[in-house]
């Protein structure tokens, strides 16, 4: 056995062997740990909000605190958790392994991207202590309110600007890596579907993130110099802010969900012992989603006073984007059909991904129709919808990936029974937490309020109880993973019987991945 990358510390020692490392695996773990930390911060903020909403009226905080909490919760969860969640952590760790490369194309830029990320994280958290108090304009920073509020919106916007750089650098690194560093014989159609999804994601990162960067800068200029682009009093147009913001932020949804779909496409064949059904369809649908994802941002603006032409156009285009997502779901189900299914924890999370993502996606179609949209716009229906997509979708896929690749990363197996119990609690808690929100929203409960009329009490109470169940499940899951890292059984190279390249090297992988660059002669889901 070769020395694992934990032992081979490179030029530096101790903590520096991590924070100055250019090894993609170490950087992947840096990302993973920091992403998990921000997840815990975000969950804490979410729990506090739910606590406030347990009963009508002021429960534990005043309105302004609540505004700050949902803004920070959104910013942390979107920019610091879910956008980099799978792509930057598992992407970094496994992309080179899966294509048979020793590292990414630009290892030092890779490290730099983590520094941008962590700087942005620190900036975002520091808004808590900044003069003026934490931002209260939501994660969407809508003008004109975000211009006039005295809270530290500029700092938060700057954090979003900086994290954008990290995202861009990761994207260009991965694209170059996939084009240049595939092992001999690793043709495009022998790449694991996770790699395909990372490739599509990277393009979105490259071509959409700059727009976020510029709109965040403009917002800061607006607050500092009063340039007036988004200020109606000066001849500006607040809708232009919304356009520019969503030109990035809708594609960002695909930065979250595409890698998630990639993970699912890798897990399902392994746990049903069947080669994937419709490989090319899934690969191409990743690219299609990335492409079509660009042209639908207007569905966030149906109620904003946008032109009628734009409304029907964007509504129409949004319906189209459901097609490639549907293709994937059908292919996954077809793969499972008649497979010899092993109900391991990764598969449990994958199946719940399909279920929850489908709910999120189908309610998305309801949002996409202009008429229903006007009814549910800015209500809890939307809150439920995006938690189902982002948390039930991307978040659950992240948990799936965490369990699936855990043996490879740590070299040990987690405790399967505990993991399944945790999954069950998380799944139940999730639905108890968010499903009532669909009903609340349909009945007219608006989002971003710390208070509500009496008739909403029951549903809110159930939802808050759900948040406690969910939190318990998450704690059990994490405790299990942490304890197993020390106490778990030895995993061996390939505990699940996967056919992709990362399972051919020892666990944890050696420092340079492959002693000799492998020669590839078969597909990624060829189990014979």
């Amino acid at each position: 056995m070769q020395t694992s990358f934990y032992v081979a510390h490179g030029r530096f020692r101790g903590i520096f062997s991590w924070i100055l490392s250019t090894d993609h695996k170490r950087i992947g773990l840096l990302y993973l740990c920091s992403i998990l930390s921000f997840f815990i911060v975000g969950v804490t903020l979410g729990l506090l909000m739910r606590l406030e909403l347990f009963a009508p009226g002021r429960t534990i905080m005043d309105a302004q605190t609540y505004n700050a909490l949902f803004s920070l919760h959104g910013i942390v969860m979107i920019f610091l958790f879910i956008i980099p969640a799978i792509n930057a952590s598992f992407g970094n760790f496994f992309l080179p392994l899966q294509i048979g490369a020793r590292d990414v194309a630009f290892p030092r830029i890779n490290l730099l991207s983590w520094y941008f990320y962590i700087t942005a994280g620190i900036l975002a958290i520091s808004t808590l202590f900044a003069p003026g108090g934490p931002p209260d304009a939501g994660w969407t920073f809508y003008t004109p309110y975000s211009i006039i509020t005295t809270t530290s919106v500029s700092l938060a916007a700057f954090a979003a600007f900086v994290v954008g750089f990290s995202s861009i650098l990761t994207g260009l690194n991965f694209i170059t890596t996939i084009h240049r560093l595939r092992a001999p014989g690793m043709t495009w159609f022998r790449m694991p579907l996770f790699v395909w999804s990372v490739y599509a994601t990277s393009w979105v990162q490259i071509l959409a993130t700059p727009v976020l960067a510029i709109v965040m800068l403009l917002l800061i200029f607006e607050r500092m110099f009063g340039v007036g682009f988004f200020d109606p009093a000066k001849g500006g147009d607040p809708l232009m802010f919304q356009h520019l913001f969503w030109i990035y932020s809708h594609p960002a949804v695909y930065v979250m969900i595409l890698p998630a779909m990639g993970v699912i496409s890798d897990i399902i064949p392994v746990f049903s012992r069947r080669t994937i059904f419709g490989y090319k369809a899934i690969a191409f649908s990743s690219m299609t989603i990335a492409g079509v994802g660009y042209v639908v941002w207007g569905h966030h603006m149906f109620a904003s006073g946008m032109s009628e032409t734009a409304r029907w156009l964007f509504s129409f285009l949004t319906f189209i984007v459901a097609i490639p997502s549907g293709i994937k779901v059908f292919n996954w189900v077809a793969t499972l059909y008649r497979g010899s299914i092993i109900l391991g924890t990764p598969l449990l999370y994958s199946l719940s991904f399909i279920f929850l993502f489908s709910i999120g996606g189908l309610t998305g179609l309801m949002n996409a129709a202009v008429a229903t949209n006007l009814h549910i716009h800015d209500t809890y229906f939307i809150v439920a919808h995006f938690h189902y997509v982002m948390f039930g979708g991307a978040g659950f896929a992240f948990f799936a990936a965490l369990h699936y690749w855990y043996p490879k990363i740590t070299g040990r197996l987690y405790d399967e029974t505990t993991a399944r119990v945790a999954w069950l609690i998380v799944f139940i808690g999730f639905n108890v937490l968010y499903f009532p929100m669909f009903i609340l929203g349909w009945q007219g409960m608006p989002r971003r309020y710390f208070d509500y009329p009496l008739e909403f009490t029951n549903a809110h109470m159930i939802s808050t109880i759900g948040s406690w169940i969910l939190a318990t499940g998450i704690v059990i899951m994490f405790v299990n993973l942490v304890l197993s890292a020390a106490r778990g059984r030895n995993a061996g190279n390939n505990p699940w019987g996967g056919a992709t390249l990362e399972w051919q090297v020892s666990s944890p992988p050696p420092a340079h991945n492959f002693e000799e660059i492998p020669q590839i002669s078969k597909g990624p889901y060829d189990f014979n």
Binding site: H179, W203, L207, V211, L239, H243, I247, Y294, V295, W297, G298, M301, G305, M306, S307, E308, T309, A310, L313, F314
Partner: protein, 96 residues
């Protein structure tokens, strides 16, 4: 892998000077076009001239002519994206 082998053709200085000359001439042209005041047409003329200039820079100064097809496709992708974004935004702005 030797850098020289991979670097592609080296463009002659003479070509660069021609490009430079054309760029200067085009700058003069755009100035004249603006002075002639074509009204609404003038913005289109000016954008066209600017695009010719930009293409010259990309094609020869930036060596795109000598890069592989992949590089050209990628550039096209970026340009298409921006065009689509602008068009869709105008579907709102023009019809509001």
């Amino acid at each position: 892998m030797n850098g020289r082998e991979q670097g592609g053709a080296i463009i002659k200085y003479r070509v660069y000077v021609y490009v430079w000359g054309s760029l200067i001439i085009l700058t003069g042209l755009t100035l004249t076009a603006a002075a002639l005041e074509f009204g609404g047409l003038s913005i289109i003329i000016n954008i066209l001239i600017a695009s010719v200039k930009a293409s010259l820079v990309v094609w020869l100064f930036m060596h795109l002519k000598y890069e592989s097809r992949l590089f050209k496709v990628m550039l096209l992708l970026a340009m298409t994206t921006l065009t689509v974004i602008i068009l869709l935004t105008f579907s709102d702005v023009l019809f509001r």
